[in-house]
Subunit: 310 residues, 2 copies
Amino acid sequence: MDVRHLELLRELSVRGSVTEVARATHRTPSAVSQQLRAAQRELGTPLVEPAGRGLRLTPAGHVLAGGGEDVARVVAQVQARWDAFRGHLSGTVAVAGLPSAATYLLPRTFAALEGTEIDLVFTDEDVAESAYADLVVEHDIVIAHSLTQLAPAGTERLFAVELLREPLDVALSAEHPLAARADVRPEDLVDQEWIGVPIGFPFDTVRLAVEAATGKRIRVVQRMRDNRLIEALVAASAKVAVLPRFTSPQGNDVVLRPLRGISTARHIFAVMRPDRAERLAVRHVLAALRGAAEEATRDRAATPAADAHT
Amino acid sequence: MDVRHLELLRELSVRGSVTEVARATHRTPSAVSQQLRAAQRELGTPLVEPAGRGLRLTPAGHVLAGGGEDVARVVAQVQARWDAFRGHLSGTVAVAGLPSAATYLLPRTFAALEGTEIDLVFTDEDVAESAYADLVVEHDIVIAHSLTQLAPAGTERLFAVELLREPLDVALSAEHPLAARADVRPEDLVDQEWIGVPIGFPFDTVRLAVEAATGKRIRVVQRMRDNRLIEALVAASAKVAVLPRFTSPQGNDVVLRPLRGISTARHIFAVMRPDRAERLAVRHVLAALRGAAEEATRDRAATPAADAHT
DNA sequence: TCGACTCTGTAGGCTCGCTTCATGGACGTG
DNA sequence: CACGTCCATGAAGCGAGCCTACAGAGTCGA
């Protein structure tokens, strides 16, 4: 029962192909293939089987890959204890996630990490909800969102903590007739032209909720992801959009108004692989993120309507 | 954080010297020393320090040795799951312990293992109570005893399960005047010549209890360990001794009588290192031992006095 | 049918870990 | 205090194992 073989199978179960494992571990596919062969010879059972161009784990392979997961978690725990013993907040922490949440989380997080030896490397990834789970393979912490209080789809076997709940508001040009109201109702929106997000992105469910509440279809005239771009378009037109409250700037050409009668909020999660979550530096960054989330929530607790009075 | 280094430190913490580790792992001391050096270089901290002729772990070394313990336990769990998956009851299980308990446990245990692939290798070790803990380094299961319901001394960090409670009786020649009684009182014994056990062996506490109950000193004329030898001497003389009930033969020249007023029993334990206890074959042998203990208890539930009527 | 992609096999080189042999310090004993 | 013993450590050499490079075979999509 060689730990290296368990680790290899774990890697294979996560990455899905010999080539990917090889790339991730800085080796050639041939080397990985040979190790796999050696593992099967030693264990006396086929662990993988051909599947189309690639291959997949057999049931036996899955058993051992699960074992590799356990071993990796314990080793990470030991590493964390070791780092704590030495007072070593070592290394780099790779974080990936939503730019829209990072906008208000990252500045505070970097500030909190100031003076430590932790090197936080952030990659912004704006992908559909279901794709977040794939990011944890390459990153220590993935900042994802979900429109329910449950962790994002595909993260069932991962370690996920909710960082904060961020209301989703209706974005309007300051000159827009609805901007004079403290809040807007679903009925107010059905006649408007919407700037939506690509199908499958979480915010799209807000549109579906409005349609469900009114029984009418909404005219989505654009579908785009970048919130700054959407803001610019909203500011310069009579179109409306859905934007997260904390991210978006207050008090210039664009105003945010709560959507009355529909509970609209996104839940920001930090998602990690269990073994990565054990690392001391990762736990430290996670704590910084939670602190940043708390601050952000406190600072923006006021509704945008209240802000509008200033 | 190399798993091999953790394993090495764990081994070193258990065995205490480079030479011992080398012997246990079938390598030369030089190889072990070099690995140790490599580990220290990689981890950037001294892990061992000279202590007299040998060396001992530094605090840092102890932290990592503890981590090695955790890893070993998880790896053993994985191995057990793997064996269960394959239906493999593999390998040999090394058991050591008291011959006096093995006498009635082992025959049934071997019978229960009949037909399996498990190879049970037993070593009989009759040592003082405190030395049992050392045996788990070399054996998978150690059968030990204690005169209290608590596990034997020195097994605090080990996995221990009680197999059975075995009364301790007074052994007498069939011709001995006290043999006519159903049981004997402490006062009856103070005038007798005793065959005891070496100081530090558990049964000696029975003598101490009798002395405490009567306020008189007992004349211990011999101190020996082997129960068969003691039986032979008791049968051929007027001397008395303390013998465990299940081990000793019934209905020949020696009779056993309960000691009234003093709760005398030894508790037979199976003691294991946590990682060894995870092995499927070890768990199987342990189950067989428990079954054997249950049978033995049921078969000998009758008091020797009741037997004496037959 | 061709090209792109993936896994596998072979040959060769290199690294790593082990053994052998020798050295030096620590302890106990005469 | 000198000697033998025990333990750890160092240098040199060797061998197994692992990796790379390259080529071949199978699969899928255009």
